[in-house]
Amino acid sequence: MPGHEVAKDDMMIDEYEQKQVNAVPDGFNSQYLKIYYGKLFPYEEMFKWMSYANDGKHPACNQSYFGRREFSFTLDNDVYLRYKTFNSVSELENSIKEKCPVKIDIGPVYNVDPAKRHSYAQSGCYPEERELIFDIDMSDYDDVRYCCSGADVCLECWPLMTIAIKVIDTALRDDFGFNHILWVYSGRRGVHCWVCDGKARRLTNELRAAIADYFRVYKVGNENSHKKVSLMGPALHPFLVRSYTEVLKDFFERTLLSSQKIFSTAERYEKILDMIPDESVTSELRGKWQDNRRTSNAKEDINVARWEQLKHLLQSGKQKMQGLRRCVEEIVFSYTYPRLDMEVSKHMNHLLKAPFCVHPKTGRVCVPIDPNRCEDFDPTAVPTLSTLIEELNNEGLRAEADNDRDRTSLGKSIRFFQSSFLEPLVKSCKEEMISSYNAKLQQSKLQQSKNVLAAI
């Protein structure tokens, strides 16, 4: 049923969260939010983005384009307003300022104004365009991280998100040929991706599903099986090979092995031994690891050492079965490969939280992430509502910058959004618009001259 799908993000209210809210007493309140929407939220930029060059003067501009985009607001009192549409940046701005939504979601562009969908009952109101979107949530990684679980994230597990960004971003650009990709911190424990090229926005649901499946390596309904990843066939697809050699392997061996202490206890290494379908190998390793506790070199990380032993045994020539070589890769994939919420990507009508919203539980702003420098992104250093308000109130900074936003730490994020994403996007939308307009013009001239000839 096409309908609102509440992000899992906001449905889980557990103890962790309570703690977190208490830990940041000045994190989030509607008074602060009013100031944020009043002085900091980038309305112009959002409008420019969602207009995709249709806000210009060119005759090919579709003036109704922005007005057919669905926005939805979640209000303070849990009231949920769907199918809100706006015809101009000032309408958008006034409505947000008036309602002060704790969350803004963005839906598709419909064939007609979805706010008036009831008057189109006959011809129908259906999504016509929608960015290709991806939603990656840290809580889906709970079986492979030992530092925290559920809603929490820390710098030890955040590299899992870095991996996801690198793998998906590279494939979207190199394999699928997309260029205008925006990565956004979801405000708490994950990332969102917006692919905004014209041909991405016009993808059918079937193609969205195909792209999502291209990224799928996890088995479905695997709760009770040990192997989470199944890399079938005698070889890997070039996309998986590239992801493995360029990203996954390094992150696993250089970062996650020690930071997550993947082999440190029997309970943990047993999970990995479960993925090896050969008794003799697993019992040999288990034997080594059980006595090896005392003899191992104190300087050497035990996780790295055990991984090397495992690899050596599985990849040495004496392993008769080819299948076992694949095990090493399967283990790495299981512990590192991006876990996408497939349903979000597959359907045009799925709503996704707008960038620059403030997460109501953490008070953190959903800022863009630079995929080229995603290793440097620190979710714990993202501006919060209260720090922004402080910065606004700081008289000293007031003199230095000529607008409110530039004297806060949000300024940098908005400038990045503008220069790295928005400007190239609008430029290419304009070019695309003009060239398709000219092609049509040419066509109709040709048609006219044909008609003239026919008349003679």
Binding site: G177, L203, L207, P234, H237
Partner: protein, 460 residues
């Protein structure tokens, strides 16, 4: 009466026998053929659908489809095969154009059928079909092929296909044209282009077939609602509407084993085991001695599904209707459609009881009593109807909250649970399922009370 351009010039065996259904044929079709051909094709599509949902392997499917086609689509006169093929396809377009769900199903099954038939054409015919679609892709030239050869080899190895040779033919197409090859990682893609091997061309052609058919179905739908449905309301419309009910899930067209109800018990059973939508129709019929077309279809097919025999059905409807319109008019105007529902009149076929999905999406007008009460009743009427069914006030609140959230089938499920005092894990998806689940519970209750009595007698 059939005026078909011959598609097959004599002596040319390579010309495909597989039509692309690009435009509706200028054919006059006999009404019987209209329906019979469609039913035969529907058997093929349903067979494919069943095969796929049982997870049959590729080779099993190939054999299945070949058999299905042979059994159902051969015309007694071989020369008419192609007409039957084309006519049946276009009739089913009418049938399956009308909702998103129907279109989706038809699109998948027709595409699966097309793929099968395309694969079984000879290469020359395949090429001419590609040309007919205007798929004029250039082969990847030697130097480019060399530069990506290791990737192509990798893909071939990863999918256990035969490895490409240096002179292999590959086409480079936008990835959007081969979604299934992309989704299963069976192609190498680079900068938005997929490199497809000659053996994968079927996917490319199937994509075009599918998108063409998808657009055509939207157009047909528009035409259907704007003109056909009204123009043909006495001729094609009822046939088309009946045909479209014959798919999806267990169709309840054959009564369950214990189900056979007689006219004597029908009032009691209606009270105890009919879902509200049917109970309402039943009561209205008793009250007003009349139901409009939508109501007659919804209730009539349901009664057939619960096991009311044709003769009893005729008697039942006649008893009511004749009090309003007279026996003679009943025989003349209404009896036909009841026999039709049972497949006795004209077409030798079964019509299937409506599912919840269908009932919920129906659009009853003024004077109509069919549809889904949870969806179509006012809150006031619904509350009153629920109380009449014996739903207590606590359960009533739960039901109404489901209704407000538009979860009509859940509302019906809760009603079922309240009325029967047991849980209904599977949920209600079909009025006939409501009925048979209810009967099952009633039977087991009766059974256990009977046993209890027995025990008392023994112990006393």
């Amino acid at each position: 009466m059939l005026a078909v351009r011959s598609r097959k010039p004599a002596g040319y065996d390579d010309v495909p026998t597989l039509p692309l259904y690009r435009s509706a044929p200028a054919l006059d079709v006999r009404l019987e053929e209209f329906e019979l051909f469609a039913i035969d094709r529907l058997r093929v599509l349903k067979g494919i659908s069943d095969g796929l949902s049982r997870g049959k392997k590729h080779e099993e499917m190939e054999k299945l489809v070949t058999d299905l086609w042979k059994t159902n689509m051969r015309h007694p006169q071989a020369s008419e095969d192609i007409n039957k093929d084309i006519i049946s396809h276009f009739v089913l377009r009418l049938v399956y154009c009308r909702t998103e769900e129907l279109r989706k199903w038809f699109l998948s099954m027709e595409t699966a059928l097309f793929r099968h038939r395309f694969r079984n054409e000879r290469p020359e015919a395949q090429r001419s079909l590609m040309a007919e679609f205007g798929l004029a892709y250039k082969k990847v030239d030697i130097s480019e092929l060399e530069s990506v050869m290791d990737k192509l080899t990798q893909v071939a190895r990863s999918t256990s296909q035969s490895l490409p040779t240096a002179d292999a033919i590959f086409y480079k197409v936008p990835f959007a044209e081969v979604p299934e090859l992309v989704g299963s990682r069976r192609v190498f893609i680079s900068k938005g282009h997929a490199y497809i091997a000659m053996s994968q061309v079927v996917s490319l052609v199937a994509t075009h077939f599918r998108s063409h058919l998808s657009k055509a179905l939207m157009l047909t739908n528009r035409k259907w609602t704007s003109t056909i449905v009204e123009q043909e309301k006495n001729r094609l419309t009822p046939i088309v509407e009946a045909l479209s009910t014959s798919y999806l899930g267990p169709d309840y067209s054959q009564p369950k084993e214990f189900a056979e109800i007689s006219l004597r018990e029908i009032d009691d059973i209606a009270k105890s085991s009919f879902p509200m939508c049917m109970r309402h129709l039943f009561e209205k019929l008793r009250e007003e001695h009349h139901l409009k077309h939508g109501g007659r279809m919804q209730l009539g097919l349901f009664l057939k599904g619960v096991g009311l025999k044709l003769d009893d059905a005729l008697a039942f409807w006649k008893a009511e209707f004749s009090r309003k319109v007279g026996a003679e008019r009943f025989d003349k105007e209404y009896a036909y459609s009841i026999r039709h529902n049972y497949g006795r009149e004209g077409k030798r076929t079964d019509y299937t009881p409506y599912s919840c999905q269908k009932i919920i999406s129906s659009t009853p007008g003024v004077g109509d009593h069919h549809g889904c009460p949870y969806r179509h009743f006012s809150e006031e009427n619904l509350t009153a109807a629920l109380s009449r069914m014996g739903v207590n006030s606590r359960a009533l609140g739960d039901v109404m909250s489901k209704v407000r959230n538009k979860h009509y089938q859940l509302a019906c499920t809760l009603t079922f649970e309240a009325v029967h005092g047991t849980s209904c894990e599977a949920g209600i998806n079909h009025p006939n399922q409501y009925f048979s689940d209810s009967q099952m519970i009633m039977k087991s209750k009766n059974h256990s009370t009977a046993n209890d009595t027995q025990m008392q007698i023994e112990s006393s």
